[in-house]
């Protein structure tokens, strides 16, 4: 279960489990989390928890609610978010139940509305709540970790192409997008893709294929290296890595 850690100037006051669908934060005693401080409104903010998600909403407080330093009206809480109300801080800790491996959260599951509760006559063998789709027998933790690493490993590398010949010789084009197309539509077009492993060039359209360092490439994507010379629709350009 997710929880909040309430603290003031670095010292922890208490932990609050998010065990109710709706938890109110404010100065009045009716709030689940009461903070007796004049900077806090009577009903300052509330947290609605639905399954694994908790939503923070400012209830129109006088002094506002911050999450990680930014004022918010409505916000989906992420693990380790810090909510600030006046001088008080509430750190959100999303605790994943130990029995559910991370992968379970990615599996598509059916969520049945309450009205579809068991009809004993027509479907006697169905349990009242559907069993979540079972995870495959082999734990995929390492694969998940690898995939996450791949995701965070966005190429910090930035490359560009510089046109060498033709009327726009000298022009430089930074390859910042995941996909950049070059050439003349209808005549010859190639795409340069930016991937975690680096940059690749692929033929898109036209009878002629791009030439890299004097060699015609095939339909497969080809990795690009620093100072490769690309020839496309009669124009030569140089690929180079900026950082």
């Amino acid at each position: 279960m997710a929880k909040l850690i309430l603290s003031l100037e670095g010292s922890v006051i208490r932990e609050v489990p998010l065990d109710k669908e709706r938890i109110m934060i404010g100065r009045k005693p009716s709030n689940e989390i009461q903070i007796e401080n004049l900077a806090v409104s009577g009903e300052h903010a509330c947290i609605v928890t639905i399954l694994n998600d908790s939503f923070l909403e400012d209830m129109g407080s006088t002094n506002g609610t911050l999450v990680n330093g930014n004022p918010i009206k409505k916000h989906i809480l992420q693990n380790n978010d810090v909510i600030e109300i006046g001088k008080y801080k509430l750190k959100y800790i999303a605790e994943v139940p130990a029995h559910a491996p991370a992968e379970d959260f990615e599996k598509t599951m059916i969520l049945r509305p309450a009205k579809a509760a068991p009809k004993p006559v027509t479907e006697p063998s169905m349990p009242p709540t559907p069993k979540p789709a079972m995870a495959p027998a082999a734990p995929a933790a390492t694969a998940v970790a690898a995939a996450m690493a791949a995701k965070s490993g966005e190429p910090h590398m930035l490359a560009a192409v510089q046109i060498l010949t033709g009327p726009s010789a000298g022009r430089e084009l930074d390859l910042v997008k995941n996909l950049t197309t070059l050439g003349k539509p209808g005549l010859q077009v190639a795409a340069i893709t930016r991937r975690p492993q680096g940059y690749f060039i692929t033929h898109v359209e036209g009878a002629k294929f791009p030439i890299i360092n004097g060699k015609v490439i095939d339909a497969q994507a080809q990795p690009l290296h620093d100072h490769d010379v690309i020839e496309l629709a009669g124009v030569k350009m140089e690929f180079f890595i900026k950082k």
């Binding site: 990615e106 509305p113 063998s125 495959p136 995939a147 077009v189 795409a191 898109v204």
Partner: protein, 270 residues
């Protein structure tokens, strides 16, 4: 029925992703009939594959048969009914199998079916597999997910931007084969030459933003197979946490049932 193989260009791609050991998605497409079907199965061990496999095989085979047996004109509202009926039949078959065979208990699948007919596209869907349309260089989502997240967006609880960070992405509120009865959401849309339609499983749209999909489709539209491959690759480069399937359909020219002058005149006097 008219043969649409000269009017539609279809390409497909499917991949198990970077994490999963098997692919529980199933796809089928036939340009001649103007039909594309995509299903994303769920359930233990290989039951997900079985469910999505049954849905795709049944719908593509039986819908084709039903269309071939129609002698007169098929109007769009009848075609809508046909798509809905076949989704229900697939639901019955999967539900029966899951009831009678313990290893398939609780299996189910999402479904998106598109049928191109008489300058219209008839779309039926159940669950969170999607259909997008690219017209000009703008990509728009046509189907609306049957999911908890979509309900939260609709009720104003969260914005689309916040939805990207939700932990509840994988909860669908409707699926094929889980309950004895299911309703497919079926709508029809007029089609224009040049439109590109994208059917995909959530393995694509959870991993790749709509903006990146739009960029890929608009810049690679000259080469549809490459665009499909590129979309799958992007999902995998971003983590590939789920199976990812893509069907791309380009409308090359219009396909009205009545096109000749005589036909048009005849329809005048009806």
């Amino acid at each position: 029925m008219a043969d649409l193989s000269n009017m539609l260009e279809i390409t497909t791609a499917t991949h198990s992703g970077m994490v999963r050991s098997h692919n529980e998605d199933s796809i089928a497409a036939d340009a001649a009939v103007g039909l594309a079907v995509l299903a994303d199965g769920m359930g233990g061990y290989n039951a997900g594959e079985v469910a999505s496999g049954i849905a795709v095989a049944m719908i593509s085979a039986e819908l084709k048969k039903a269309l071939a047996s129609i002698t007169g004109d098929l109007d769009v509202s009848t075609a809508e009914k046909l798509v809905g009926e076949h989704a229900v039949r697939a639901n019955n078959a999967i539900f029966q199998a899951s009831q009678s065979q313990p290893q398939y208990a609780g299996m189910g699948t999402t479904l998106v079916v598109a049928l191109w007919h008489d300058d219209y596209m008839i779309v039926g869907h159940i669950g969170d597999s999607r259909l997008y349309r690219m017209r000009g260089s703008k990509l728009e989502q046509v189907t609306r997910d049957h999911s908890l997240l979509q309900e939260q967006i609709d009720s104003g609880l969260i914005t689309k931007e916040q939805a990207r960070h939700s932990q509840n992405k994988n909860l669908v509120t409707r699926a094929v084969g889980i309950d004895p009865e299911v309703d497919a959401e079926v709508h029809s849309y007029p089609v224009q030459a040049g439109d590109i339609y994208l059917l995909c499983s959530d393995g694509l749209n959870d991993m790749v933003t709509d903006e990146d999909m739009e960029l890929t489709l608009s810049s690679l539209q000259a080469n549809l197979p490459l665009a499909a491959e590129q979309l799958v690759q992007q999902a995998n480069d971003n983590g590939g946490r789920d199976n990812v399937s893509v069907i791309l359909v380009r409308v090359l020219k219009n396909f009205p049932v009545r096109s000749g002058l005589v036909d048009r005149l005849k329809s005048w006097f009806r």
